[in-house]
């Protein structure tokens, strides 16, 4: 199985690779903007799991490069994982639209750009799976990170639309909604331990959800309930909260 990982430098992506390495004849195409670390990572995969792995340069925000990137892959993937994302800094994004645009383009526009190319190929081949790593932050806007949150909201909505469209082409689209995950992205944040997922466990959960053909998956599971509660708070109250 050819597996294309977009944003392969992310901790979540690495652990997804570890989990999917048990797929028969797994061949990983690792893609990221910064490829220096990917050389090491691809070597690690080949040693650790005795699978094939190669790496490619890919910039989610360089939209015009996407078609060429996809066309140049030695073989077309059977599974594509969108794991790139940018948390950014909310307060900077409020003052500096460039930063806001960067957050939006990385988390949303870039994903749309590459996934439309992938979707066209999968639709023609009548097979394939797309996994998008979105976030529970997209389920309700909060003052502390609504630029990131709104971009993830758009991505979540996009994935559900794509799932609807690809159904008839025998292409499966899965949305992953992690809450807090202990990764590089969050390493400077003091996260509540009980609600924070370990990327390794998340990687295995994604694989399990994939094997079971799930459409959306929350991780940790408690986030499903938490977000239900958060979404049920009336806006008149919610707007006064400092979240």
């Amino acid at each position: 199985m050819n597996i294309l990982i977009l944003g392969a430098n992310s901790d979540i992506a690495k652990h997804i690779c570890d989990a999917f390495a048990k797929e028969k004849d797994a061949h990983f195409y690792l893609a990221s903007r910064n490829t220096t670390d990917l050389e090491k990572f691809s070597k690690d995969l080949t040693i650790r799991h005795q699978v094939k792995a190669s790496y490619y340069s890919f910039d989610a925000t360089n939209f015009t490069s996407h078609q060429k990137f996809y066309d140049n892959l030695p073989e077309k993937p059977d599974l594509v994982v969108v794991a790139f994302g940018l948390l950014g800094e909310q307060q900077l994004a409020e003052k500096n639209f460039q930063h806001a645009a960067q957050i939006i383009n990385t988390n949303y526009t870039g994903a749309v750009s590459i996934l439309e190319i992938v979707a066209a190929d999968f639709a023609a081949r009548k097979s394939g799976t797309i996994i998008g790593i979105s976030s529970v932050a997209g389920l309700r806007g909060r003052q502390s990170n609504y630029i990131y949150g709104s971009a993830k909201a758009a991505f979540t909505t996009y994935l559900s639309g794509l799932r609807n469209r690809m159904q008839k082409h025998n292409v499966h689209v899965m949305t992953i909604l992690p809450g807090f995950v202990a990764t590089k992205m969050t390493q400077d944040m003091d996260l509540p331990q009980r609600l924070t997922a370990q990327p390794k466990v998340l990687g295995q959960a994604v694989y399990q959800a994939y094997s079971r053909g799930k459409n959306t998956m929350y991780h940790k599971k408690a986030w499903c309930l938490i977000m239900f509660v958060i979404r049920s708070i009336p806006e008149s109250i919610f707007k006064r909260l400092s979240l």
Partner: protein
């Protein structure tokens, strides 16, 4: 980038003490150098050392150093980054017929931690410590320079780094030798001994066994003092490398510490000893169960309650071992609040590393839950240990007095010289190294 990090409360496996620390991730070398220049820096892997040896104001986490870099199936030589855990290695290489030449009682330690504590296993009496199978260490010195240390190159630094508790630099990667095996199971023999004399005799009698360790009833007194179950193991050779996944329990919360009292501990020890009816039992157990019985209970450190616990592990040279153990076990049995699992093990010869713990003799380890009288009691044990020329293991320690440490580790001065020569003295330190004046 500004070095601005949120401080977090962290602790060792014993959950005592807690320390406010800035966590820095070891990914970018030039940034690491800047962090080290701030001083009070110590590397930390999975946080499995029991006491305060991986606690400091600035902690360098090796979690991001997670890659395998090279493996040669002909020689069994593996090069990997220091944040790779023993569990990672077993997961990847057991199915291919390779295993760790030396493994401690948990697989949730990193290569960096295993080297820094120079850990030992149930086969120490034959093969020595973990460092015997370390062929090279890639070490980041406080000045930012990266050097290779091994038995040919930078020898002194190699012997200081193995067992050096992270005080000589940040271990970035290492080359270790794995051993070939043909089975994922261990042929186990359990031998029941009624008292200390019989226990020690059983160790000597079964010296040829590849692996040996005894569980000892630390609550037994009088004629039962030192009664034990000695477990011997040999790798099976059934050509079956399929690993049965161990069942997993969890202790998600701190248990109320009242649960652990002299009565519950006595009862547990009694039943644990009595569960083996015959003098000798043969069976076959999977490798995880034999080497890592406690790994199947995640967060078992919560069993000792909110205040935490410590493990006291000492070694007594062979000649006086029986008399010393007799006295120490007597004291522990009187103290009453010993632990569920106390472990006795025969060590082989000491190595030439400056701070490695093992020396030829018997080592005994047991847990104590934290309580006000504990440290005073342990100082009494220290005195006995010192009288019999023994010492206490740094990776477990959280409280030994500095003078006791200096009196029992005889190569500290040489170690300090090496530390000074690479500019590590005022840059790399843990709460432990400060407490002990290393």
């Amino acid at each position: 980038m500004v070095l601005n990090f949120i401080a977090m409360k962290i602790h060792g496996w014993g959950k005592y003490p807690y320390q406010e620390a800035c966590i820095h991730h070891a990914s970018n070398h030039s940034e690491l150098r800047k962090v080290i220049q701030q001083g009070n820096c110590i590397a930390r892997g999975l946080g499995r050392s029991y006491g305060d040896s991986a606690l400091s104001a600035n902690v360098i986490s090796t979690q991001q150093l997670r890659y395998f870099l090279d493996f040669n199936p002909k020689t069994g030589l593996l090069i990997c980054e220091s944040g790779v855990s023993l569990a990672d290695i077993i997961d990847a290489f057991l199915p291919r017929g390779f295993f760790l030449a030396v493994t401690p009682g948990t697989k949730f330690v990193t290569i960096g931690g295993a080297i820094a504590s120079d850990v030992h296993g149930k086969n120490h009496h034959h093969v020595g410590c973990f460092s015997e199978f370390v062929e090279n260490i890639e070490l980041l010195l406080p000045n930012g320079e990266i050097v290779n240390c091994n038995r040919q190159q930078n020898q002194e630094l190699f012997h200081a780094t193995c067992g050096g508790m992270g005080l000589t630099g940040i271990i970035l990667a290492a080359t270790i030798k794995l051993i070939p095996i043909t089975s994922s199971t261990i042929q186990q023999r359990t031998i029941k001994s009624a008292n200390l004399n019989a226990t020690l005799a059983a160790f000597h009698e079964h010296k040829e066994a590849t692996y040996s360790v005894a569980w000892l009833d630390c609550t037994a007194k009088g004629k039962h003092l030192g009664r034990s179950l000695l477990m011997l193991g040999e790798h099976a050779d059934d050509n079956n490398l399929v690993r049965s996944t161990p069942r997993n329990l969890n202790v998600p919360f701190n248990m109320p510490s009242i649960m652990l009292n002299r009565y519950s501990i006595r009862a547990f020890n009694h039943f644990y000893y009595q569960r083996i009816k015959q003098d000798e039992v043969h069976d076959r157990v999977n490798l995880d169960k034999f080497f890592y019985p406690l790994d199947s209970i995640s967060q078992w450190n919560n069993l000792y309650g909110r205040k935490g616990f410590t493990q006291y592990q000492f070694v007594i040279p062979l000649e006086d071992a029986e008399m010393a153990l007799q006295k120490i076990l007597g004291k522990i049995a009187d103290y009453g609040n010993g632990s569920f699992l106390s472990v006795l093990k025969l060590f082989g010869k000491a190595n030439s590393n400056y701070l490695s713990f093992p020396q030829e003799g018997f080592t005994f380890a047991l847990d104590f839950k934290m309580e006000p009288t504990l440290f005073h009691f342990l100082e009494q044990l220290d005195r006995l240990v010192q009288d019999y020329n023994g010492r206490v293991y740094l990776a477990k320690d959280v409280r030994m007095p500095a003078d006791f440490f200096h009196a029992t580790y005889n190569k500290v001065e040489q170690f300090q010289k090496i530390r000074a020569s690479i500019g590590a003295t005022d840059k790399l330190s843990s709460l432990q190294s400060t407490r002990l004046g290393i």
